[in-house]
């Protein structure tokens, strides 16, 4: 089962992964990380198809896709 893993402290909440995800399962959190950004997270890991589009779109190498 593919699973997107977010290194949330590295996330800057830019939203590029949100747009990149065909499955629409990434969203920006309400909480802040210690840098003051709202990090992205996966709202429905089960729906992840492992296309790694989010990881490729992320400028901060926040996302790894585990399998």
């Amino acid at each position: 089962m593919p699973k997107p893993v977010f290194n949330q402290e590295r996330c800057k909440g830019c939203g590029l992964c949100v747009v990149a995800c065909k499955k629409n399962i990434i969203m920006i959190s309400d909480s802040l990380n210690s840098k003051g950004y709202h990090p992205a997270a996966c709202s429905d890991e089960a729906a992840c198809i492992g296309c790694i589009m989010c990881a490729r779109a992320c400028p901060d190498v926040v996302i790894e896709i585990h399998k």
Partner: protein, 248 residues
Amino acid sequence: MNSKLYARPESLADVPFHYCPGCQHGIVHRIIAEVIDELGVRKQTIGVAPVGCSVLAYDYFNFDIVQASHGRAPAVATGVKRVCPDSTVFTYQGDGDLASIGCAEIVHAAARGEKITTIFINNAIYGMTGGQMAPTTLVDQVTTTSPYGRNENQVGTPLCISEMLSTIQGARFIARVAVNNPSNMAKAKAAIKKAFQLQNSGEGFCLIEVLSTCPTNWGMTPVEAVKWLETNMIPQYPLGVFKDAGGE
């Protein structure tokens, strides 16, 4: 061991980037690192970092780096490559660095057919210093030094580096790419890979121009910035291969 579909490439150090949210410098860094990994040349690679937002590249890449003075990366890389002819030497430069102050150095690296690879980040603006006009700034684009929009009659029109350098015989491979969507990202990676491969097989100067966003200085969200790049930059700077003087 490979329990990951996607993981940070080895050539990228495990530290956070200082880039602004959504800045595509990070994407290009990652692609370069992937290519270096795939070619298996990390330990023989020497990168040359510019002055610009990517000045700290030496913190991000996991191979030797020489930080160069503003615009002179091609000259610095020439010095490096002549000493280490079997290494993989590349410069990473912004459009202020390469197209403005460093214009002579890039033209002459190309003219000499210097066996280096240049990754040229065209974001139509000076990022690091806070959003001044670049030679690549679009007509009417507002920047801090073209506050009324770039005035064609006073300061001219965008400089198309790939087109210009393609007239030079020593240039082996010149392409313009973007990282705005998955298919373009794949093309970008392929072009960058080819440029490195050509260098490693001893062929001449290669330059890959990457259209890139600067959400901060464009005054947009990262997602808006990608849109703006698509609707404004790509028409001015068409993507594609401008020169491929290749034999085989």
